[in-house]
C-alpha cells in the first residue's frame, strides 16, 4: 500500500470510529468517556483530511482552496476502485 492509500485508509478508519461514536452518543449523550474519544479522533481525522487534501486531492470542497487550478472535479471518484 502506497503512502497515499495508507493515509486514505487511516482517514477511513478514523471517520468510521467517529460514525460509531456519533450514533452511540446520540442515544447516550451523558457518556463523558465516549465524548472524550470523539474529541480525540475528531482532531486526528481533521488533521489527516487536511494533509491528504494538500498532498493529493480535496476529499471535500471545504479543502478545495487552491492558488492554481480547480482540483475538485479531477479528483478520482470513490466508486472507481483501485483497479480502475
Amino acid at each position: 500500500m502506497g503512502e497515499k492509500e495508507q493515509l486514505l485508509r487511516d482517514i477511513g478508519i478514523a471517520d468510521f470510529v467517529l460514525t460509531e461514536l456519533v450514533l452511540y452518543l446520540d442515544t447516550h449523550p451523558f457518556d463523558r468517556n465516549a465524548q472524550e474519544y470523539f474529541n480525540h479522533y475528531n482532531r486526528i481525522k481533521l488533521q489527516m483530511e487536511k494533509e491528504f487534501s494538500q498532498k493529493y486531492y480535496p476529499l471535500n470542497t471545504r479543502y478545495a482552496e487552491s492558488s492554481k487550478e480547480w482540483r475538485w472535479g479531477a479528483a478520482p471518484l470513490p466508486w472507481e476502485g483501485e483497479c480502475a
Binding site: G12, F16, V17, E20, Y24, H28, P29
Partner: protein, 55 residues
C-alpha cells in the same frame, strides 16, 4: 432525558411493548482497523454471520 445504564431490569417492564437493552460501553475494540473491517468498534456488538450452527 436521564442516564439509563441501569434501566435494564426487564421484570419491571410493562407488557405489550418491545425493549432493546441499553448498550453499556466501556472500551473500544483494541485494533480499530479490525473493528473497521468487522463493521463495528464495539466488541459487544460484534456478531458476525457464520452460516453454521457452531458459534
Amino acid at each position: 432525558m436521564h442516564e439509563h445504564w441501569n434501566d435494564n431490569n426487564f421484570d419491571d417492564f410493562p407488557v405489550a411493548m418491545a425493549y432493546v437493552p441499553w448498550q453499556k460501553f466501556e472500551r473500544l475494540c483494541e485494533d480499530l482497523e479490525k473493528g473497521y473491517c468487522a463493521g463495528t468498534i464495539f466488541p459487544e456488538l460484534d456478531k458476525p454471520f457464520t452460516g453454521r450452527r457452531c458459534v
